[in-house]
Each structure stands twice: as structure tokens, then as C-alpha cells.
């Protein structure tokens, strides 16, 4: 049954104006000169006081990026004008005399910013029991709970700090999951990466609280190139959350992050994302280009990596959080909800690479398109020759709201071992007039009805999110589809 005209109209009425995090913090910033060249790479490295080896690493990446070996990917199902990489700032940091040692020393304007975003850092520290690393443009401005975590031997700090305090760990793992030459944006990130979080959980330690990084792009014409590295040592366990927002601007801004996860024997990493970068306005002006490489390596036997993502923001999303299942009996999971409204485009999915024996992976992807939104699920399941008894289960469901949006599914399956068992299920559905009328007859507004139905559609994924995040995600979903109906 087709969706009513009224419904479609209200989907179209959804505007970027509903974006609640679109404000700008007026704070004095230090910027690198505009553009990108070796001097800029040196500038960033110097700003962070990096050792020689890291500068060399960056420069090598930069030269590779310049060479024809690195090519901007053109295969994704997204359309945008060419990016002028010289027309952007690659480093922006709020000016402060010295790096703050505690929350008391953090610029009140910054604390206020995070408060407005719904993340009162001070209260979070006292009440919520969630440790937060707050990254503002190119630098980390605060990290909470560091002391308490340190007692357990857990390292949770900005990666720029880890480079100095734990160089051996950073050197060992940086680029070990996403190599410098991996892809165009990962290479660029390796050259100019700014801040992100570093997590190390020592042997046998179960991290007692959620670790969280909140990424905020503030300065105009600035790219954010976060780099996050999480290492879970033998038998350890950690749950990590990230959230992202940016001001509303009519020009596009680039966010090209790299996230690397390493799980050793019997270790488990749960990585959850609620991505809410500014999506652009209803005409498709502005918004973040979110070109991100996220990958985890289950290096150890019986290790587990689980990605859960709720993607509601960004003008364009290009993102495939993946798991390399090296260790025998290792497990990879990918749970995703992605929403494209207005003119948003998303080409997202995952790669599960089965190398070890008895490895298993699960992929649950829920795509929701409204307005003129275009969305592609792109997934690869690769079972290598030695991966005896590998298992994969994939389920891709698309929900379309209105007549002008699109949902596409592009699954790649490569099996080189006969004992493998690979299942793929895909559905495409629409919100029916029957469902809407049923809800409205019970007193729900159009918008509440759609939010309820869509939440139901996403339920399997939301159940994987940590409690507080699940509530947040449900609300966010309502906001993203606001005006989508009604």
C-alpha cells in the first residue's frame, strides 16, 4: 500500500532547521595556514610536540597521498562536487595558555559548549559514571575519570598524549589495522590526523565504566581528522561510545577519521557510535562529508569485536566498520541503523574477513530513507581458505518513507572454504497507511506514529546499545525524522 500524499509532504517538510546542535562557539582559535602541504604536516606534528618517528610516519603518508597510488574512491553510490583539499584548514585549536590538567582549568566557554550539547562534563564525572574525552576541532580539551581508570591500569587519554606517555604501545599498534596505504582518506588521515582517543585495557581487566569520546567540529572551513586506537589486551573487556556534532553551515566540511581496534586472546571490544554531524539543510546545502575508515582486528583466539552504529547525521556518509577475524573462534558483529532524510546520502556497511577457524560474524543493517535520501548498504563477507567452519549471518532491511528516496543493497560474498555457512536476508518495506492510521486512531500524531514504527524497525540494533545511548538514539531518530511526517 502506498504512503499517503500527506505523509510524503511531511517527509519533505523535514528541515535541517530541526538540527539541535547547530550553534557555534565563539572562542579564539589557533589555526594552521589554509591548505595542505608538507609544511602543514610538520606544523601539526610540531604543535603536538611529536617525536621524530611519528613525523616521518606522517610525511610518508602525505607523500603517498600526493602520489597517484592514492586515489579518491569513485565506486561508492554517492554524488558530490570535487573536494578542494587546499581550501580548508587542517588544524584548529581553542587558544589556551597551557594544556589543562583538570576540568577546573578548562576554558569555561568550552565547558559551556559541552553543556549545551547535553554533555555536562563536570556532572558526567560525578553522576553518570561515564568517562569522557572531549575533542574540540583538532584537540582534546578534557578527559574525565582518568585517575580512577589509571588505578586499574587502564589508559584513556588523547592519542596525542599517548604518543608521549606510551610511545611503545602507540608505535606497536598505530596503523597495524588500517595501514597508511589502505585508502585515500585513511592515507590523508595518517598525514594530518589531529586528536582522538587512545585506550589500552591491560590483561584481565574489565573496564568498569563506559568510555566515551565526544567529537565536536566548531571552526569553519576546518576538516576534522580524528584518530582513535583501542587495544584490549588478553582477557580484557571494554565498551566505548562516540558521539559527534557540528554547527550548521552552508559549506561542506570534511571529517575523515580512522579508528583502529585490536582485541587479543579472549578480549572483547564493544564500540558504539551515535553519529549526528550536521546533515545539511533541506535543500541539501552544507553538512559534513563523513568519510571514515573503521576497522577492528580480532587478533586473539576467542576474541570479539562488536560495532554498533546509529548514523543520523552528515550530508554524505562513507563508512564500513569492519572486523578481521584472525584468531580462531573469534566473533565479529555489526549492528547498524542509518537514516537519510532530505538530500542526505549514505553508502555504508561492513566487511567481515574470516581468516581463523570457527570464526563467526553477524551483520544486522537497518536503513531508513526519507525525502530525497539515498542509501546503499554495501557489505563484504569474505571466507578465506583456512577458515574452517566459518559462519556468517547477514540481514539487511530497508525502510522507505515517501516516493523520492532510495534504498539499495550491494552484498559481496566470497567463499573459499567449503565448510563455510553464509546466510543473507534482505527486505525492503514501507510504512503503510494502515499502520499510520492505526496509530493515529489511538491518539498518536503523525510524527509520533512514524517515530514509533521506525523505532520498532530498528529495535534489534537499539537493543545492542548501552542503555543511556539507546534512549538517546531513540530520541535522535525522532528528531532526524522530524517533519518527516506531519
Amino acid at each position: 500500500m502506498s504512503v499517503s500524499v500527506e505523509t510524503v509532504k511531511s517527509v519533505e517538510a523535514a528541515t535541517g532547521g530541526e538540527y539541535k546542535y547547530g550553534f557555534y562557539t565563539d572562542i579564539e582559535s589557533e589555526l594552521a595556514p589554509k591548505g595542505l602541504n608538507e609544511d602543514i604536516v610538520r606544523f601539526i606534528s610540531a604543535k603536538k610536540g611529536e617525536p621524530e618517528w611519528l613525523l616521518d610516519w606522517r610525511l610518508k603518508a602525505f607523500r603517498l597521498w600526493l602520489s597517484s597510488a592514492a586515489e579518491e574512491p569513485a565506486w561508492a553510490n554517492v554524488r558530490y562536487s570535487p573536494i578542494d583539499f587546499q581550501d580548508a584548514y587542517y588544524y584548529a585549536a581553542p587558544k589556551q595558555a597551557e594544556a589543562p590538567k583538570s576540568l577546573e582549568e578548562v576554558d569555561p566557554a568550552l565547558l559551556e559548549t559541552y553543556e549545551k550539547l547535553g554533555i555536562p562534563l563536570k556532572e558526567q564525572e560525578i553522576l553518570a559514571g561515564v568517562a569522557i574525552d572531549a575533542v574540540f576541532d583538532s584537540v582534546s580539551v578534557a578527559t574525565t575519570f582518568k585517575g580512577k581508570l589509571a588505578e586499574l591500569g587502564i589508559i584513556f587519554c588523547p592519542i596525542s598524549e599517548a604518543v608521549k606517555t606510551h610511545p611503545e604501545l602507540v608505535k606497536k599498534y598505530l596503523g597495524s589495522v588500517v595501514p597508511v596505504a589502505d585508502n585515500f582518506y585513511a592515507t590523508l588521515n595518517s598525514a594530518v590526523f589531529s586528536d582522538g582517543s587512545f585506550v589500552y585495557v591491560p590483561k584481565g581487566v574489565r573496564c568498569p565504566m563506559e568510555l566515551s569520546t565526544y567529537f565536536r567540529i566548531n571552526t569553519a572551513e576546518t576538516g576534522q581528522f580524528e584518530r582513535t586506537l583501542i587495544v584490549a589486551d588478553v582477557g580484557s573487556h571494554v565498551s566505548y561510545l562516540e558521539g559527534c556534532t557540528a554547527p550548521m553551515r552552508s559549506e561542506h566540511q570534511l571529517h575523515a577519521a580512522v579508528v583502529e581496534l585490536v582485541a587479543l586472546d579472549d578480549a572483547e571490544i564493544k564500540y558504539s557510535t551515535v553519529q549526528n554531524w550536521y546533515p545539511g539543510d533541506k535543500e541539501g546545502r552544507g553538512g559534513i562529508y563523513n568519510f571514515v575508515t573503521k576497522r577492528g582486528a580480532c587478533r586473539g583466539r576467542n576474541s570479539k569485536i562488536s560495532w554498533t552504529q546509529v548514523e543520523t547525521g552528515s550530508a554524505i556518509t562513507w563508512k564500513y566498520p569492519s572486523v578481521i577475524l584472525q584468531g580462531d573462534h573469534s566473533t565479529g558483529e555489526f549492528y547498524s541503523v542509518a537514516i537519510t532524510n532530505n538530500y542526505q546520502q549514505a553508502d555504508t556497511g561492513t566487511k567481515m574477513i574470516h581468516i581463523g577457524r570457527n570464526t563467526s560474524s553477524t551483520i544486522i543493517s537497518k536503513g531508513i530513507s526519507a525525502g530525497h535520501g539515498q542509501q546503499t548498504y554495501r557489505g563484504l563477507v569474505r571466507i578465506l581458505g583456512k577458515a574452517d567452519n566459518a559462519r556468517n549471518y547477514t540481514q539487511c532491511d530497508s525502510l522507505l518513507i515517501g516516493e523520492k528516496c532510495g534504498g539499495h543493497t550491494v552484498p559481496y560474498i566470497e567463499v573459499k572454504n567449503q565448510t563455510a555457512k553464509v546466510e543473507h536476508e534482505a527486505t525492503t518495506s514501507k510504512i503503510s497507511d494502515d499502520q499510520l492510521f492505526y496509530c493515529r486512531q489511538r491518539g498518536l500524531s503523525d510524527e509520533d506514529a512514524v517515530a514509533l514504527i521506525v523505532n520498532g524497525f530498528c529495535r534489534e540494533v537499539f537493543q545492542k546499545l548501552p542503555m543511556e545511548f539507546a534512549v538517546e538514539a531513540q530520541k535522535l531518530l525522532g528528531i532526524s525524522l522530524e517533519g518527516a511526517i506531519g
Binding site: 499502520q435 491518539g443 524497525f457
Partner: protein, 248 residues
């Protein structure tokens, strides 16, 4: 409470209701009976505001308001409840969530406070017991995998929770075996009260053995062609609807 005056409706280019007049006073239960295709369900949809079922002429007064000018949710919040002939599935949404969202939407519109999760649960459990429904109903997804009888009981559960002023029951007996019918009818009878009116739409007299109406109307070819007391239903069951068809 409800006054329908000369209601005409065209659906997909075909005239379905052709001048319906009907008046229901608070506290009364009216049955509308009629052959298939006589416009019974259309009447339910026009009253509840379903898209595609608009009145072409005539008017409906509900508690003094012009009912047809309200959106479906406004009608629901004003106390109009439709028990669906075919209750709709909403995958992934727990029944409790659906029910609580609905109850609170209606409460807010009435200027009442939202029910807390605990208060809601307490009330829902009591109603479930009355309807001989297992508590697991609350955790199941709305109508997904429900048997015909379960779906109809779920409608009555919603009605009990929403406490409407006017309930329109569209073929609530269809697809029910005799045991389920008794339970559903019992649930409906409990909800009869001085302040509440009901419009029971049915093809068969069977349901009216259990829900005894104050008045019975025969709808044929888009008009109320006869009205009477509960004995009219018995008469119809014996004679059928033949005498009301235009072929005669």
C-alpha cells in the same frame, strides 16, 4: 452524544453511504447490521477519519463538535475509539510501548498527567486479567504473530486502557470461536457505562446474544432502512437481509 445527519460518502468513485441518519445517546449501545457491501465498515472509517473515506455531504456532531473537521488523532483524543476489523501489525514495537504511548497521548490532550511506567503497568495488568490475557501480551510485538482471537482481545484491551466516550466496534466478532467471542463480549460489557456509547457493527446476530443492544439499525445500500429494539436482530437472523436489497 453522536448525531449523524444525511451522511453521504463516495469511495473510489462509488457512492457507498447515501444519506445515513443516526443518533446515539450516552450510555446506549447501538448495533448496525447489514449485508456485505452495505457500507458498515465505511461508516466506521468515515467516523474515525481514515484517509480516502471523506463525507461528501452531511454532518456528524460528536459532543457538539463537528467531528468530520478533526484529524484522526484529534478524534481519538476526544474519546472516539475504533476497534479494527483487521488490527494492524507493528513489528518491533512492544505492545506495552504502543499502549502507553497511546494512553499518554490521550491523557495529555485531556490535560491529565502522563502515566508513569509503574502506574501504567499496574493498570494494564488489571485489565489483562479481566480479559483473560497473559501478561506476556505486553512484551509481544503489536499484533505480530497474534491469532485472530488474540488480535481482537488486544483491541478490547486498548479500549479498556483508553476509556473512550464512544467506541465503534467493527466486526469484532469476525474470526472468533465461541469461547473467544464470550471473552471479548464480556470485556466489552464491562466497559458499558452511563457516560459511554457504543456502536457495534456486525453482520451476524450472534455477537448480539452476548452484547445486548439498546437499538438495532439495518444498513442497506448506504441507508438506515429500519431501526428497532434488540428483537430486530433476532428477526434478521431468521429472515436474512433479502427484503432490504434493491433487487426486490
Amino acid at each position: 452524544m453522536l448525531e449523524i445527519r444525511d451522511l453521504h460518502t463516495v469511495v473510489d468513485g462509488k457512492p457507498i453511504l447515501r444519506g445515513v441518519d443516526l443518533e446515539i445517546v450516552a450510555g446506549e449501545v447501538h448495533a448496525v447490521m447489514g449485508p456485505n457491501g452495505s457500507g458498515k465498515s465505511t461508516l466506521a472509517y468515515v467516523l474515525s477519519g481514515r484517509e480516502g473515506y471523506h463525507a461528501d455531504s452531511g454532518e456528524v456532531l460528536y459532543d457538539g463538535q463537528m467531528l468530520l473537521e478533526l484529524t484522526p488523532e484529534e478524534r481519538a483524543r476526544a474519546g472516539l475509539f475504533l476497534a479494527f476489523q483487521y488490527p494492524v501489525e507493528i513489528p518491533g514495537v512492544p505492545n506495552a510501548t504502543f499502549l502507553r504511548t497511546a494512553v499518554n497521548a490521550v491523557r495529555l490532550a485531556r490535560g491529565e498527567e502522563e502515566l508513569s511506567a509503574m502506574a501504567f503497568l499496574k493498570e494494564a495488568r488489571a485489565k489483562l486479567k479481566q480479559l483473560q490475557m497473559d501478561e506476556s501480551f505486553l512484551n509481544r510485538q503489536v499484533n505480530v504473530g497474534f491469532s485472530g482471537g488474540e488480535k481482537k482481545r488486544n483491541e478490547i484491551l486498548q479500549m479498556a486502557m483508553l476509556e473512550p466516550r464512544l467506541a465503534v466496534l467493527d466486526e469484532t466478532d469476525s474470526g472468533l470461536d465461541i469461547d473467544a467471542l464470550k471473552i471479548v463480549a464480556d470485556g466489552i460489557n464491562r466497559l458499558r457505562s452511563a457516560g459511554r456509547a457504543m456502536l457495534v457493527i456486525t453482520h451476524y446476530q450472534r455477537l448480539l446474544d452476548y452484547i445486548v443492544p439498546d437499538k438495532v439499525h439495518v444498513l442497506a445500500e448506504g441507508r438506515i432502512v429500519r431501526s428497532g429494539g434488540k428483537e430486530l436482530a433476532v428477526e434478521l437472523e431468521k429472515k436474512g437481509y433479502a427484503e432490504f436489497s434493491s433487487a426486490a
